[in-house]
Amino acid sequence: MIANVRENLTPKEKYIDSLKFALYCTTHPLDGFWDLTHEKRGTYAAANTILALALLIRILKLRYTSFLFMEVYWEDLNIFMYLASIVFPLTLWVLGNWGLTTLFDGKGRLGQVYMATCYAFTPYVLIQFPLMIFSNFVTVQEAEFYSVVSLLSLVYSALLIIAAMGQIHEYSAGKNLLFVVATLFAMLVMIFILMIFFSMVAQGIAYFISLGKELMFRM
């Protein structure tokens, strides 16, 4: 597959080719993610498509997974909040990873980190969709199948993300794992800072609101 890198593809052909390349990355993570950036086999369009598919499946799962596995309290469901549960950690991960690795000889650029992470979602898309349909044909006694396979898709994706980071930054295995852990810490730090930021903004606004109220009361 590596051999037949064709030059001079039309944009459409390039898109299809890069989308197919996600399958190659899934089965040959090290080789695949190296070529993703170094051989320019991946495109942002394909990465966006995979992310969009992952988000779509996450929403579809709400409605079409059997209630044995997914009980949805519709009254409390905010679809944007629900989507944010993928997009927000993804953003933090990409920013945190790039921010750290760029200081320590990481070769990957911000966009490439994003692209590789999105490519790593492929198993989630490929496993969760059939699993969602399958869930409607089982009983409680057979529920273990579902949970195991579902867990597998998440673990697979996580391993792919780790492998991808190592390849695009040209890190050794040990250094790669170290920076994965460091990135997780970086995410926590960012959450902490964001929380402080938002509470400060809220208090600031509350101050001016109460000031306004007081003024109106006096006048």
Partner: protein
């Protein structure tokens, strides 16, 4: 328990926090309803009343010269009600003429014969055996009295001789039940090893059914690290004492205990059903634990978990618990699912100030209020009778009739989970699996849904076995044939004889 926050990750909560900060705080005061139930999600669902107050009977309605004072115990047998008027040291036997009219048969304040005191001192509970002998927990006199139906002394049960008991402990029997062989089980203040069990000849035969001790592992570590003096100040890990006991018509003992807030939050049951060995065999298949209210927050001056101070078991295996914290009644069916909840603290009819005991005659309920010094009688409404009919018909095996009753229940209350599951179970027994699945799915009954689905799937596969085999064969044969044709084609194309011709 587990459900609501299944998919809300921390980050969503974090975003939520920032959103909430910008929103004005709105106090949400909903109108309180008398009867309610909890749905699958733990939301309060209003319900039509299953019971209505028939009458509140105070001392004057009963025609007593000396007013009731702090009544503690109530026992019903046949049409008779025995009331322990603890504050006045007397037992009152009442005859139920109708739920609105209780006649005083006799007022007893002393026994005949026996060597101990002839009068009672703070009698807290009473029980009547099948043979008609009366057992009285005479708390102030540290004894359980066994007297015949005319209150002639027969026997007494005293403090158990057990090495593990503190010799200084004063025996204070509080609540008691008697089984068919006249063995006595009693709860005594200060004894937390379980129920004190006496054989029918009066000998103490052991403690049964102590509540399991539960503690946090963090507490355990603290305790290990603490010094002797510190340890003494820490709360010790001991079983909780039971609040009350009741023996059902099958001889099983229902025991209630007060739960701590942690236990209530971790969904521990407040009711235990003890078999002869003292093991808990209560079925708890409901969405929530058997323990009263789910929301422990303060409201109207009351907070914390419900304290189930008494329980009574009807012949259809529905047991009604009495909460002395918020003055409410909670009923559960044999599967541990809530049938109804109603009541409250207050002075109106149907509300209580300090309820202490509950009993039933048929489907009627009698609740003793120790502060109000009254007995409130409840009779089932039309809706309540429908629910009971549906449950009883199902137990008898009349599934279609049960389904019809549940349908009528659902017509009156569309938010009643038991009705959906009841219809589903009736349909399941009538082998209408697909319809049953629909009802179970609506109320998230996974076990029953799986039962129905398993049968439905089996039927479906049996009906379509021809198609399934055909499709599998096609799936295998088609690629096989295509592969075969391709290989033949390839062989023909590459055969030597043709190549030779081409070369020419």
């Amino acid at each position: 328990m587990r459900k609501k926050n299944l998919f809300i990750r921390t980050l969503a909560a974090f975003i939520g926090v920032s959103v909430v900060l910008f929103q004005p705080v709105t106090a949400c005061a909903e109108e309180k309803h008398y009867t309610y139930n909890y749905d699958y999600w733990g939301d309060v669902q209003e319900s039509p009343d299953l019971y209505s107050v028939s009458k509140v009977l105070t001392s004057s309605e009963l025609g007593l010269d000396v007013k009731l004072k702090n009544p503690q115990g109530l026992f019903a047998v046949g049409n008779s009600l025995y009331l322990c008027d603890s504050g006045n040291n007397r037992i009152i036997e009442l005859n139920r003429v109708s739920p609105e009219k209780l006649e005083v048969v006799r007022v007893v304040d002393s026994i005949k014969g026996g060597s101990g005191p002839a009068t009672f001192n703070n009698p807290t509970d009473i029980s009547v055996s099948e043979d008609g002998n009366i057992f009285i927990a005479d708390q102030g006199n540290a004894r359980i009295l066994k007297v015949d139906k005319d209150f002639n002394y027969l026997m007494e049960f005293i403090k158990p001789t057990d090495n593990t008991l503190d010799p200084a402990l004063v025996f204070q029997p509080n609540k008691l039940v008697v089984d068919t062989a006249e063995r006595v089980y009693c709860i005594a203040s200060g004894i937390n090893k379980g129920l004190v069990k006496y054989e029918n000849d009066g000998t103490f035969s052991g403690f049964v059914g102590a509540t399991p001790v539960s503690f946090e592992w963090t507490d355990y570590i603290w305790k290990k690290l603490a010094s002797q003096e510190q340890r003494a100040k820490l709360e010790s890990f001991v079983p909780t004492e039971y609040e009350n006991i009741y023996m059902d018509y099958e001889g099983f003992i229902y025991a209630t205990k007060a739960r701590t807030e942690d236990q209530a939050r971790s969904d521990e049951n407040a009711v235990r059903k003890l078999n002869l060995m003292g093991d808990d065999i209560l079925v708890s298949n409901g969405n929530w634990s058997v323990g009263g209210d789910l929301y422990l927050g303060s409201g109207g001056g009351y907070e914390g978990p419900s304290i189930l101070t008494d329980v009574t078991v009807m012949d259809n295996d529905i047991y009604v618990c009495l909460d002395r914290n918020r003055g409410r009644l909670f009923a559960y069916d044999d599967q541990g699912r809530m049938v109804f909840a109603f009541g409250g603290n207050g002075n109106m009819d149907g509300y209580f100030r300090r309820p202490s005991a509950i009993e039933h005659i048929g489907h009627e309920l009698y609740v003793v209020d120790s502060l109000d010094c009254s007995i409130t009688s409840f009779v089932p409404t039309e809706f309540g009778n429908l629910v009971y009919s549906a449950i009883e018909e199902f137990d008898k095996g009349n599934y279609e009739a049960s389904g019809n009753y549940w349908q009528q229940v659902m017509d009156q209350n569309g938010n009643y989970d038991l009705a959906y599951i009841g219809i589903g179970r009736a349909l399941l027994r009538q082998e209408q699996y697909k319809d049953a699945m629909k009802y179970f799915e609506l109320k998230y009954d996974r076990e029953n849904y799986s039962k129905a689905y398993k049968q439905y799937r089996k039927e479906w596969v049996e009906a379509h076995i021809g198609w399934i085999v055909a499709i599998i064969l096609i799936l295998f044969l088609v690629p096989l044939t295509i592969g075969k044709i391709k290989s033949i084609k390839w062989q023909i194309d590459n055969a030597d004889i043709f190549k030779v011709e081409e070369n020419r």
